[in-house]
Symmetry: C2
Subunit: 809 residues, 2 copies
């Protein structure tokens, strides 16, 4: 239910009033603003609504009555608690603790109702003011700090500064806490008190430099000794006099201006994007209108806030006042990166901490704590006794290039080859994709795509392999067309777990014979040379979400490691129990599949094999910013040692091991570890492994780790996955960890196999009628895939499944 | 003077007490902690010092007297103002506003004195407590928020929470403001008041989850109606009872524990680094001891805080108590990235804002404001009418790869070549270096370094060129050995500006003839094909800080643009005034030289020429994290348009246009623009262009921009640069914008030309005797270079120059 639309309407300006502290005059400020808009001169009449989401204290003394009395606007309180304490205590005492979703939904609905009122009258604009309780991080009823609780709406903020001694600090700090959570602070109000603290002057200068407007308001009448009537008169005079001053006019102008600027930005962004931006992997001639570009206002948790277009509005429930934004589930995990949700305030703070402590500091010849702690955590977590060194790069592609440089050097050195004159290739799998830089591309087989890159020369040999597919509720391992003789007839399994039961499966001999024969042919008949085996374990991403038979990958590693690739070399090719590489260095590209994407820290564990080199990126930072690592064994590392500087690994980005990336990654992996032992993940595992004893609460990191090794499961419900695999339009399904892949049948015979998937994708994006959220997804040919964050809400995933089934059934 | 050592000693624990607000009991907490340590049981006696850097109000009521009375420890107040208001007002009223440096230096000196006291007694540990005034961001005397003012010392923090209503928010916010500035918050103290606000309970849970200890202390005695004597008795009883409770014991244990953990971390990091890290561009066999790895505790402004090693301690002033850290000027601008200084709190906040608003959001098929605004700012700032599209990548190397993909495609398409089968090279300059990924490497000539990368194949032709060098106070343009016939005899210039006066220099004909003859030979005699001209304008970085004659680069562009590279093609090769590319697409790699590194937004303006493709990175984010752009003309962009997806530019990183990077970059470029029109830059320009009228204050952005086009200047003083060029050990000097290059003579004849530069580098790093800061620099062969941030302090640069001259004179 945080799946709500961002709080932005064309004809209604909704703002949220936060206080730098309690007792700073939030309600007085709200009253003044309400009164101002109620009486505001101009082309429009303003329909003013005041909402207090949560109020504590006796209702007859509540803020809404006060505001109503002086501002003459409609007021609403959503949750009222009798005791005048912090909402989290009041709610607990009242034994009525609404969930954050409930509070947020209530507020969202009220704002929507107010907007409806306004929408029907021409020449009327709406102004809705939401007054919070206490300070910006004061707890809401459930205990969640308000700035976090209300973040999904991301209403622009008017912050009421603290006029008292110490108030400068409180005001700036509050503003920082809001900004850190992605809020736009439209303006700061400072009451100019009679004491000589000078807060207003100081704050004005400070906020000017931050580009935030300030509004200085005259001091509140001293009501000491007044009787009730005098008090009322004094306040009424104050409000009457103040609400139409220049200061309030300017404040209102600023709020109105920022509202329309935001609307205008959202309106213009697609057009400006098409003017100034060259998009990745995009055939720009196929983008014909601005509306084809999704404009993101922001994002939170599992959802983007997307600007409505004529298409999405046409798909919305017309009885409602269409807001400007709608929430769309980030179904590609923003190109496979997301692990901890968008706008995660803990990650924001950790990012800021690293920036504040270090900025970026030089790494060559130097070191810092985040880089070391992350490296140690990775080497620990990968549980691969071979991996001992971490090399930092900027992204998956550069990480793979480093992996290739490492592997080739080790091989050439041992076998006495000269890579600068001889053609040394890699061994890989068909359909693999390792990144977009030339070197990473060259490690993939030629295809219609990379062949068009002028400097691309495929350097290697890429194997065929059997694939795993769930068809009609049954897991099948199938050879590609024409390869049945090599790989045998389809094999069927009741449980996905059985596919991964490598020791007891009986195709190894056949696979190994095929692999050995193929390599023999390459070496002896074609005279080819190879420097490394590189592959993505289990699931090949960009190649089309291909689920490779894990047994085949395991056999490939085993054969390569026992093979003598340098017939003239007498060095031993395989040493039982040694951590030295043998045959060829084995490079695992875990950029997509690693670090919990498939439910495990390392995807290599699915194959029960230890690569010599392992590349990680994407989820590494929890999905916040680029960072990559290439982990290597000592035997690879030692191939670069000599007395000559020029034998060193000649790679190093300026931002190598940037402190922010390393610190965020270290924190993200820690946070993901906690999620892994939490109830949600236990439930996912139980759903897929019902025959295993499921002991709620008995998780914990250590027991979770043991389980990790044996169980095979997905965050997507087993029932849905099974159901999907039986639908008429569906060819097959794949599901593992956070990934769900649906391959659609090419039934139309139209030739464009991808049309069906694109249709489904668009259909899900504009699924705004029955359930008010879209689902953003990506397709690869006739395959549509979905991907969750590690902390996606089970209810969000269930809703996505419901929509998907609805569209395909 | 923020050039002070971080506040960390082995035998002294120095902490800073901040309050979540004023009136939260900071002084009571300080007294309790002081009293605790004064009486603390254990193996050590504690020498307790209390320091109040800035105090306001009558001195007889000042905090230091109070603490002294009850805690029985030495107390010191550094700056005392009579009026009981915020220090910034009190100081102004007293007409005595000390600079931040002065306050900080005073505090640093006092801490150092306290440490000296302790150092001489065995079995005595020091505990120094610095109590701040007001809240965490309350202004110091100059108006700078205290948390910013005291940041260079980065003392661990004990935060006193706010027990009052609203105090939860104030406490968490304060903690966030501290963390954002890179502070470690050791513990939060919560006084458990008698009201039922539940702050202590709530905060404990919250901070537990943040890994921060909390300490709940009993409520302060109610002194209402007490006479002075009763009051004193009550408080004494309170302190006596409380200072030895479990809660305070735990607090002290926690502070002690974190101190020793930090020391231990610093001690172990080098060793752990050598175990777990594979460093960039590093021959690990040449690192023989842990002490050769610089350990950075943190960084601020222009300086790293580096852990002392036996070598640095031996170089320090022995009369002082060696602290654990020493400041070292970041003389390579952390591998050429820094623009706005380390730990810039504005950048931290902006980073957190983007993280909080978006996290990272999908960019393919979508857009967001930071990406568009940055793209527009870049296209505007580059002032190149050709550049119309911005393609986002992750770093300079990937940005160059994209530039090459763009250029080659445009050429092959126009000339009907097939890059997948034909060898299409680039034209470049000898000694160029464009990055570490294979594709970027291949655009550079073969050298002892890249030839060892197995997949490297140099693809192109690289020209010789004349170089610019300042020798004996005179600017010379010199041909490389053996090329005098082609390039003519050395040319001498009085001012560097004259070297850049392209229209009036008279070598163009000779240069153009040479270039044309060379290309003729490549095309007609060798049958070579070329797809792009790529070069770093003016200054080639990694190749050895080579200052190329700008006239030569300009001629190369002119010839290439007018040359018909496809003899069979009938298409026009050059159209006067057209924005279409002609001859070959011209790619400028401005990764190092662009975005103000040489004092101008674009280094292309030095050549007065408009490239078709321009690559930018490093300074783009002000030096905080990796992001790169490749800007292109419409004529390049259009070469990728077709009806086929596979003709698109097949490049796209997962984190393409990550919101944090784009937003930080947009903000950084804005901040740098402001710096450019500021007084410091005007003074630099005046220093180098004395014959130009220098009108102080007449800067402003627009006039600054005009000036940008004509003036040639450096942040390093002209006098120093001239002086350096005349020294016996110096071969030549280069200086432009923020860069200073000193090439040393290879006088030793030892064969290892780089020994002299390495000696100078080490000598500057350990320059700790006369002036207490080191200078971290990098060398390339016999060249030592220095590089400033855009906002480096002139006094810091002057100090660096002084040291450099001292070492070489």
């Amino acid at each position: 239910m945080t799946r709500i639309a961002g709080g932005l309407w064309r004809k209604v300006i909704a703002v949220q009033v936060y206080g730098a502290n309690t007792g700073v005059g939030k309600t007085i400020a709200s009253t003044l603003i309400g009164a101002h808009f109620s009486r505001r001169k101009g082309p429009n009449r303003w329909n003013v609504n005041y909402i207090k989401p949560v109020s504590t204290g006796p209702s007859q003394e509540a803020d809404d009555r006060y505001v109503n009395k002086y501002a003459k606007c409609r007021t609403t309180t959503l949750f009222q608690y009798a005791e005048a304490v912090s909402p989290h205590i009041a709610a607990e005492k009242a034994r009525s603790v609404p969930s954050d979703d409930h509070v947020l939904a209530g507020l969202s609905k009220q704002l929507e109702l107010d907007a409806q009122q306004t929408s029907h009258s021409p020449d009327v604009m709406g102004f809705s003011l939401v007054e919070t309780a206490g300070g910006v991080l004061s707890p809401g009823p459930s205990g969640t700090p308000q700035a976090d609780l209300f973040r999904p709406l991301r209403l622009p903020v008017i912050l009421v500064g603290d006029h008292r001694l110490g108030g400068i600090s409180a005001t700036i700090s509050s503003c920082e806490s809001l900004r850190m959570r992605g809020y736009d602070v439209d303006a700061v109000i400072c009451f100019k008190d009679e004491k000589q603290y000078g807060n207003a002057e100081y704050l004005q200068g400070r906020f000017d430099r931050m580009g935030i407007s300030t509004c200085t308001l005259p001091w509140i009448p001293n009501l000491e000794g007044c009787n009730e009537l005098d008090e009322e008169t004094a306040m009424r005079d104050y409000y009457d006099a103040t609400c139409q001053t220049d200061a309030l006019n300017e404040l209102a102008d600023c709020v109105i201006d920022k509202h329309f600027t935001r609307l205008q930005d959202l309106e213009s962004l697609a057009k400006r994007t098409r003017q100034a931006i060259w998009h990745p992997f995009t055939q720009h001639s196929q983008i014909r209108t601005d509306d084809e570009i999704l404009v993101f206002d922001s994002a939170h948790g599992d959802h983007f806030q997307v600007k409505h277009t004529p298409i999405s509005i046409a798909n919305s429930d017309n009885e409602k006042v269409a807001p400007v934004l709608y929430p769309a589930f980030d179904g590609s995990a923003s190109w496979w990166t997301q692990g901890l949700g968008h706008g995660n305030s803990k990650l924001s703070l950790e990012a800021a901490y690293a920036a504040g402590r270090y900025g970026h500091v030089m790494f060559a010849g130097a070191t810092h704590k985040p880089a070391v702690e992350l490296a140690e955590r990775l080497l620990r977590g990968l549980e691969n006794p071979r991996l001992r060194k971490v090399f930092y790069t900027d992204d998956g592609s550069t990480g793979v290039e480093v992996g290739i440089k490492m592997g080739l050097r080790a091989t050439c050195k041992r076998y006495g080859w000269d890579g600068s004159t001889e053609d040394i290739g890699v061994i890989g799998l068909k359909g693999s994709y390792h990144g977009d830089t030339i070197g990473a591309m060259e490690a993939s087989e030629p295809s219609v795509y990379n062949k068009k890159v002028d400097w691309y020369r495929g350097r290697g040999y890429w194997f065929d392999y059997p694939q795993v597919k769930l068809r009609h509720g049954r897991w099948a391992v199938e050879a590609p067309t024409g390869m049945e003789e090599a790989f045998g007839p389809p094999q069927y399994f009741d449980e996905l777990e059985d596919v991964f039961d490598i020791p007891t499966r009986n195709s190894s001999t056949r696979y190994e014979a095929y692999i050995r024969k193929t390599i023999d042919n390459l070496i002896f008949n074609q005279g080819r040379k190879f420097g490394a085996l590189i592959m993505e374990p289990v699931l090949m991403g960009a190649g089309g979400m291909i689920f490779v038979d894990p047994l085949f990958q395991r056999c490939l590693v085993d054969v390569v490691r026992s093979y003598n690739f340098s017939p003239r070399s007498t060095s031993p090719t395989s040493l039982e129990g040694s951590l030295d590489w043998s045959g060829l260095p084995v490079v695992f590209d875990e950029v997509f599949v690693g670090l919990n994407r498939l439910g495990r820290f390392s995807a290599a564990t699915f194959l029960q094999v230890h690569p010599d080199i392992s590349v990680h990126a994407k989820l590494l930072t929890g999905g916040l910013l680029p960072l990559a690592v290439t982990c290597a064994s000592n035997s690879i590392f030692e191939a670069f040692l000599s007395n000559s500087k020029s034998d060193a690994l000649l790679h190093g980005h300026s931002y190598t091991a940037h402190a922010m990336g390393c610190h965020i990654a270290d924190q993200s992996l820690e946070m993901m570890d906690q999620i892994k032992s939490g109830m949600d993940w236990q439930a996912y595992q139980a759903d897929w492994t019902l025959h295993q004893a499921y002991v709620p609460g008995a998780g914990g990191l250590s027991s979770g780790k043991t389980q990790e090794r044996t169980s095979i499961w997905s965050m997507w419900s087993k029932e849905t996955v099974m159901h999907l695999s039986k639908l008429a339009q569906v060819d097959y399904v794949i599901s593992l960890g956070s990934v769900l892949v649906v391959s659609l049948k090419d039934s139309s015979g139209s030739g464009y196999t991808s049309n069906a998937a694109i249709g489904l994708r668009d259909n899900m994006l504009y699924n705004l009628q029955r359930e008010p959220f879209g689902i953003h997804s990506r397709v690869l040919g006739n395959v549509l895939y979905l991907m969750a964050s590690m902390n996606s809400r089970p209810s969000h995933l269930a809703a996505v499944e419901r929509v998907l089934l609805g569209k395909l059934d």
